[in-house]
Symmetry: C2
Subunit: 384 residues, 2 copies
């Protein structure tokens, strides 16, 4: 499973002592080849963590031999010293793996912003992780990148002779994201860097980019896709892209399902929009409405707050033609009262909101979470 489901990869997850509680906090994923093609998508936040600035440069070469990831510290807003630490981490990985240069090593970090990493623990941790690298190390790697995650998240899709697998931590989206989202995907299909890049961008656009747990964008979000070519199979692009999207979709759902303090997963489908952009804009506006998110938490089918959220967008629609369904009950018809709201059953974790803009034929799905007292508690005590 995880990043070692595909052939040609080894991984490890260990406790380096970066986290004060002694839990696993360092993961290493190595592409053993024969191919070492890679693609990456990063946060669109303009304040980027040192490892993001580093890895963006590494990915420009289209080749990655290994990824080192740490939890317990984001290494964001840490100035020139933070960047030097990321560089030193990549150098250390290149050294212990032998035969590689730091320029092929991607780095990802997650944790509190504005704190330097304890390099006296991290660098020995790299040695320890390298010693434990294994073709069965995927689960341990997935565990080591957890921060506030309650479970580790992995996904695998196997097709005709080749596999795409991966691991994720956090809950959120590339732009924006709740806490940091780190994702490493691996495949043994024989695909070049350009093919990986296209498949990854197309997949993230409709999966991680449409998960909007709390409207906040991280400085560290990173999604990497590495190909070893070890299966010898060369799928056609459509087939490959489909598998990548399926793995991303699975991981994205798992991120939403484990969002900090959430009690509901909200599937917002915007239909009959004039354009896909309109559908996404409306979906995001609904997803980020704190009043609605509170109402959903209270199992209150408060469709007025959905209309309020739609009304703040620039999408094409007429207010008196809007329709809204909650869990299949059309509680709002033509911008006014529709079916009896008492018919809406909201006892289950998944809540489905359908917003019909009656303005075209495009649609989009955005996933969000409710807003809960637990979210407040978890995030008011995070760094204290």
């Amino acid at each position: 499973m995880s990043v070692t489901a595909a052939q040609g990869f080894t991984a490890a997850g260990i406790a380096a002592g970066i986290k004060e509680n002694g839990k696993p906090d360092l993961a290493l994923v190595v592409n053993e080849g024969p191919r070492r093609a890679a693609a990456g998508v990063f946060t669109s936040n303009r304040v980027k963590a040192a490892p993001v600035l580093w890895s963006e440069q590494v990915l420009k070469g289209g080749e990655v031999s290994a990824v080192v990831l740490n939890s317990g510290g984001a290494n964001a807003c840490t100035g020139p010293k933070g960047f030097q630490d990321t560089h030193a981490t990549a150098e250390k990985v290149a050294e212990v793996l032998e035969g590689h240069s730091a320029g092929e090593i991607a780095v990802a970090s997650t944790g509190l912003i504005g704190v330097l990493l304890p390099m006296d623990k991290l660098l020995p941790g790299v040695e320890k992780a390298a010693a434990e690298l294994s073709p069965h190390g995927g689960e341990k790697a997935a565990i080591a990148i957890k921060t506030t995650d309650t479970v580790h998240k992995t996904a695998v899709v196997t097709r005709d002779g080749w596999t795409v697998g991966g691991m994720a931590k956090g809950a959120g989206m590339l732009a924006p994201g709740l806490a940091t989202m780190l994702v490493v995907l691996t495949t043994d299909a024989d695909v070049d860097a350009a093919g990986l890049d296209k498949a990854l961008r197309d997949a993230t656009r409709v999966t991680f980019d449409r998960v909007d747990s709390d409207g906040c964008m991280s400085t560290n979000d990173t999604v990497l896709l590495l190909a070893s070519g070890a299966s010898g199979a060369t799928p056609d692009h459509g087939e490959f892209a489909d598998a990548v999207r399926a793995v991303c979709d699975d991981l994205a759902r798992k991120l939403i399902g484990d969002a900090e303090g959430a009690s509901k997963d909200i599937r917002i489908e915007v239909v009959n929009a004039a354009s896909e952009d309109d559908a996404v804009e409306v979906g995001r506006s609904i997803a980020r409405n704190n009043l609605l998110k509170c109402a959903i938490h209270g199992e209150d089918p408060n469709w007025g707050r959905v209309l309020s959220a739609i009304g703040t967008t620039g999408a094409a629609f007429e207010p008196d033609r809007l329709n809204v369904a909650i869990n299949g009950v059309w509680v709002c018809r033509n911008g006014s009262v529709g079916e009896d709201r008492e018919l809406v059953d909201m006892r289950y974790r998944e809540v489905r909101i359908t917003a019909d803009l009656a303005a075209g034929s495009e649609s989009a799905v955005i996933w969000a979470n409710d807003l809960t007292a637990d979210y407040v508690h978890e995030n008011s005590a995070y760094s204290s």
Copy 2:
């Protein structure tokens, strides 16, 4: 005080039975003249409540004889029947006041969206309110427009022979707003509709429009300014505009100070921006960051979340030149760790965040609230 501080106005606030708990829910404010000039600013939400659609039309005439306001129901998303109800309310006010037409009567409503008003209670309530009109009725009117407000809000500024006063309910901003913000301002200065309009727009732009309690925009937000000319004084425009801004500023601060479930008032000042628009964009992004709002609630000077929020904007800045102070302590210098965060004292209700973009000389102040478990509780049970 309130809307009857200025000469030439009478007001009343009564319990019409619209609210099931029997509390005051209907207010009437009457301009007794001699002048009846008026200006209004309304929600920019495209889904507008019936009273907003009505009052926008009334204000086009530049003349308002009376304003009738109800709490206990927003009359939003109520279709053609809702608009008919607003019209009937204005007709009723015109009838009981005698000598006026419905086209001079502004209507404002606040409460739950998607529910028709109980007209069998509201219309007799108008008669009852008219019977109680008094030059000392301002406080009662302010009390009758409360929904989740814990206190009623009024403000008065008196200058050389003339006065501007007003009342407000809700907490939020014209675009967007938490719950509905209703504001009625009155003056006995002799100012025409054009002068009122300019003073009101200039004032709301830097007061109510910069209050961002929870990032949500109401369907009902309404700010009205009525002039009776009863003082006979004709202040110059700058002097008048200054007084209107002072009253708006006072009311805006009171709205933030009484926001639903809030435990902190957050003053966000963005300085050294390339433009005022940049400063406002950055201030709003900080104001709406749920993770930061939780951190402030936890008295955690988590400046990393401030930088994260700045990074999502399109404003001109370089990440490594950003500086952030919390309560006067520059915890972030040049995009990295600054003074010791332990020096920040966050025990008091007001929290000051200063974001220095180091990109110009413009600035703006945005007021926000923290995000608390009480906010979640209050808004998850609102309509149930």
